[in-house]
């Protein structure tokens, strides 16, 4: 359960705190401003409503006042008539009032009340309050009361009121009367107007009774469907006029407690209203009550009315409800927006941090290549940069450690598998490393050496002092000598025997200590072998010299007599020819002698040449040579005859002018001669075509193409091996020793010419020589074994 809650409500991390701060910083002030603004609006609206109500009441008061002024002026108008003045004068003198005068006055009053139903009664009283005349506004028709029926007793109340009024003043005071000729009561407003004589003494009093309800029906405007309602109550809180219900005045108030304010409002509110002296606004539960007293003549509480405007606050404030809804919506929107903004901003703030956390997790899981790519341009950026740097350094360190481990392992493996003894010491000669080979060579086991002075174990005592000095000298310089040096030493085995050894020593510094690594090889065997080899070499050199001398001697010895034989056979031929003794047989025989001789010479020359090449005494002298004119033309002319004799056509095509190369012309001519000679030799019919051309790399290509017997596929690879011919043994149909092409190949190599042969058996062969344009000439090597 708590897990679930924790899942729903995130822990208040930085995000939570930031969000909270955002809410505090933005939401609260915004909400407060919203509340304040809308509250102001509400207050204003409220005030507006209240003002409206106030003005309603004020308007009603003004209308009432205006209306009563009209009544007053009507009555005054009557009073100013000459008829009434006469009547008043009579009254003053207590003289009997003339009937006619009375009737005329009555008529005037009847005129006033006619068609004005709110008039109940108009009385004219004398200064002692006695009725002089009385006009009653009956529902049927207004009429004057018979003089005999007038009230006998004086109406003291009016006398008292009139006494307290100043000329020009009137008194309005609420009262109640029985509607004449009925059993119905009604609240009336007594309109008391004293009439003054010329001495400003009250000479008469006009009292006009206005039926309150009817009056207010006339004066109170209809508010239609407005939530406002206006009512008029008397000083005791009874409704005189109620816009919502009409009173039944049969029994007046006493029996009508439900028509009292305290029925509609609490006693407290009713009491407050009835004590009101000025226009006041009252808020009671869900109502707004505006009230104001009118006609407050005396202190008596019955002697005043109150105008009460009552409105259902909810309805009046309906617009305020909208404002409240607006407020709530505003607050919700503001809250939501600022929450969202807060959340998103906080998230934005935290995004790099979260990425950082994720990054650290990824890196911790082993992915050191992970790089945090966050661009915030703030402190977090610095953090990220440092973090990335840290990771890179860590990775390097790890790699280094790995390398070190690998290196250690490799070294250990190397040391153990090495056939040489490996010994490592510090600057004092104390052994740190001692491999298996060392044990094998010296006879000391690892544990016998490690931690001990190695020099005292493996150096013969007579050299020990020197060795120690040499080691310390070697380690003296501060510079490492990783390449070290190699020296031959005499080493001591465990069994006391000494042996020659080769020591390769190098130094290295580690943590302020310098170490020496020595690789010690037992060279007893090697020394012996070297001695044997030197001996063998000396023997071989002697043998070689002898062989060369022999060959030179031999060729000389063969050539010289052979040349003599050939010369003499030529001589014989020409002599016999001169003498005409030359028969066909002799010619034939001599020719064969010559051919055989030439063959021998050629063979010898080849052998010599080959021998020279192999012994390295062959001199290849490269120089600027036009391959076409200086070399190819010569060979071509030389073999022209031979070809013609054999019935072959020898062609030379020149396809390039650029044929100057750095070659030895004599050697190259030898190559061409050989190849053309071969072509003629192996071709019985057809054509031999020599083409000189240039390829795209400015190499010169010389191709010699024949229509001869061709070379089999199997033989092609062996073509350039010495003494090789396709047909071996005595059965072969072509003379030759097989040295020619081997020599050709050698010479080509020396002059940086590549040679390719392509052939189809029975159709012919093509030899292609390529003079490589930008090549370095190679000196002949003395690498092939002698033959």
């Amino acid at each position: 359960m708590s897990k679930f809650i924790r899942k729903i409500i995130p822990k208040p991390g930085i995000q939570g705190k930031l969000t909270l701060i955002f809410i505090l910083l933005s939401t609260l002030p915004l909400i407060l401003v919203s509340i304040f603004t809308v509250k102001q609006q509400i207050n204003f609206k409220q005030d507006e409503n209240v003002r409206e109500m106030e003005s309603d009441i004020k308007g009603l008061r003004e209308r009432t006042s205006l209306f009563l002024t009209r009544v007053e002026s009507e009555i005054l108008l009557v009073m100013k008539s000459t008829e009434l003045k006469k009547l008043l004068s009579n009254l003053k003198n207590n003289s009997k009032i003339d009937d006619k005068l009375q009737q005329n006055t009555e008529k005037e009053f009847i005129n006033i009340v006619t068609d004005n139903t709110f008039y109940v009664k108009i009385d004219l009283l004398n200064n002692r309050g006695k009725e002089v005349l009385s006009v009653i506004n009956d529902t049927e028709k207004p009429y004057a009361v018979n003089r005999d029926s007038l009230s006998k007793s004086s109406k003291n109340y009016y006398v008292q009121i009139a006494r307290n009024l100043k000329p020009g003043e009137i008194d309005l005071s609420p009262s109640e009367i029985r509607i004449p000729n009925t059993n119905t009561f009604a609240p009336v407003i007594d309109f008391i107007l004293p009439i003054y004589d010329e001495k400003e003494k009250v000479s008469a009093i006009v009292t006009t009774k206005l039926q309150a309800e009817k009056l207010f029906e006339l004066l109170v405007p209809s508010y239609g469907s407005s939530p406002k309602k206006i009512s008029i109550v008397n000083g005791e809180g009874y409704y005189i006029f109620n816009s919502e219900r009409k009173n039944n005045w049969n029994s007046l108030f006493t029996a009508k407690n439900d028509e009292n304010l305290s029925k509609d409002y609490s006693d407290e509110i009713a009491f407050k209203i009835l004590l009101g002296k000025t226009s006041t606004t009252l808020y009671h539960q869900d109502r707004i009550i505006q009230y104001s007293p009118i006609f407050s003549g005396s202190k008596a509480k019955t002697d005043r009315y109150f105008i009460i405007e009552d409105a259902d606050a909810e309805e009046v404030m309906a617009s305020i409800d909208n404002l409240k809804i607006l407020l709530i919506v505003l607050i919700l929107v503001v809250t939501f927006v600022s929450l969202a903004v807060g959340y998103l901003t906080a998230r934005q703030f935290l995004k790099p941090i979260k990425q950082l956390i994720k990054g650290t997790q990824i890196i911790r899981s082993g992915n050191l290549d992970y790089k945090l790519e966050i661009a915030t341009h703030d402190e977090i950026q610095d953090l990220i940069t440092n973090f990335n740097q840290l990771v890179v350094e860590w990775k390097q360190k790890q790699l280094l450690e790995k390398e070190v481990r690998k290196s250690e392992k490799l070294f250990s493996s190397l040391a153990q598998t090495a056939t040489d003894a490996i010994l490592e010491t510090d600057d004092k000669g104390i052994a740190m490393v001692w491999n298996d080979a060392a044990t094998r060579i010296f006879g000391f086991k690892k544990e016998e050496v490690l931690g001990k002075n190695a020099l005292s174990l493996i150096v013969p005592p007579k050299y020990r002092g020197i060795a120690e000095k040499q080691l310390s000298d070697f380690l003296m310089p501060d510079l490492d000598d990783p390449n070290g040096r190699t020296v031959e030493i005499t080493a001591l085995r465990k069994d006391g025997s000494e042996f020659p050894a080769e020591l390769s020593i190098s130094s290295v510094s580690l943590d302020d200590t310098r170490y020496a690594t020595g690789i010690i090889r037992d060279i007893t065997q090697r020394k012996r072998m070297v001695e044997e080899i030197i001996e063998a070499k000396e023997k071989a050199e002697v043998a070689y010299k002898l062989k060369t001398e022999f060959l030179n001697q031999m060729s000389h010895e063969i050539r010289t007599p052979l040349n003599i034989i050939l010369n003499f056979s030529d001589y014989i031929y020409f002599d016999l020819k001169e003498k005409g003794l030359l028969s066909d047989d002799i010619t034939q025989n001599l020719k064969e002698i010559k051919e055989s001789g030439d063959r021998i010479i050629r063979t010898v020359e080849l052998i010599l040449c080959m021998s020279e090449i192999q012994t390295g005494s062959y001199e290849n002298k490269p120089r600027k040579t036009d391959i076409y004119t200086d070399v190819l033309m010569k060979s071509f002319s030389k073999y022209q005859l031979a070809a013609r004799e054999k019935g072959l056509q020898l062609n030379l095509d020149r396809n390039t002018r650029n044929s100057i190369f750095n070659v030895d012309p004599d050697s190259v001519e030898q190559v061409f001669n050989h190849l053309i000679d071969n072509a003629i030799k192996f071709t019985s019919t057809g054509t031999i075509t020599i083409i000189i051309d240039e390829d795209e790399k400015n190499n010169i290509i010389v191709s010699i193409k024949d229509t001869g017997i061709g070379i089999s596929k199997e033989y092609l690879p062996k073509l350039f091996e010495p003494f090789s011919q396709e047909q071996h043994g005595l059965s072969r149909s072509y003379e030759g020793n097989g040295l020619g092409l081997a020599l050709v190949k050698k010479i080509c190599e020396m002059n940086n010419v590549t040679i390719e042969v392509s052939s189809t058996k029975g159709e012919g062969s093509e030899v292609k020589l390529t003079f490589l344009h930008d090549s370095v000439l190679v000196k002949p090597e003395n690498s092939l074994p002698m033959y």
Binding site: S153, K155, S175, T254
Partner: protein, 192 residues
């Protein structure tokens, strides 16, 4: 009850004394008999009267005070029962006795004690036509004229008295009179 009955009661009580005389008569204004006139006798010798035990009543009926004029001996308690269908608010602003009962509903009553002699005009705030007077007298020898303007004061000890008449529309008139030990003095007046 009406004013006539009150005067009958008084006549009956006064008649109990054998040594006392009386006064009776009729008051007119012009040719008309004048009702609601208080006629009272004040002895010339200083006399003190015991505090009256009886209460006087000022009814409110049909928007009227009944009686219209109520003479009482000083010290008399006057009750104001509301016997009307509607409430009343009885008050007086006169110099003799100032009071204001406020509004009180039918079936209830208020009261005052009339200590100081003089005229107490009674009014109602709610009903301006209502009007009454309480005449507080130093003497128990008084009478109110009937509709016919007649009055009778019985059991007045013999002696010299000041005879006074009070009416709301007229000035008080006074004259000297001797009341004999027995028999009623007849005295008629015409006020103008």
């Amino acid at each position: 009850m009406n004013k006539t009955s009150i005067s009958v009661v008084i006549s009956f009580l006064v008649a109990g004394y054998s040594f006392a005389g009386g006064l009776k008569g009729k008051i007119k204004t012009g040719n008309e008999s004048l009702s609601n006139v208080v006629v009272f006798l004040e002895p010339e010798a200083v006399t003190s009267f015991s505090k009256p035990k009886e209460t006087a009543v000022m009814d409110q009926v049909n928007l009227r005070f009944v009686p219209h004029v109520l003479p009482v001996l000083a010290g008399t308690k006057v009750i104001f029962p509301n016997r009307d269908k509607i409430r009343h608010s009885v008050f007086s602003v006169g110099k003799v006795k100032k009071f204001d009962f406020g509004t009180y509903p039918p079936g209830t009553e208020k009261s005052i004690t009339c200590d100081k002699p003089g005229v107490i005009p009674i009014l109602c705030y709610v009903h301006h036509d209502m009007s009454a007077y309480i005449i507080v007298l130093k003497t128990p020898y008084f009478s109110l004229t009937s509709n016919e303007g007649e009055y009778t004061i019985n059991n007045v000890p013999s002696g010299n008295y000041k005879l006074s008449f009070w009416h709301e529309d007229f000035e008080i008139e006074t004259e000297e009179i001797f009341i004999p030990e027995a028999g009623k003095v007849n005295k008629n007046f015409v006020v103008e």
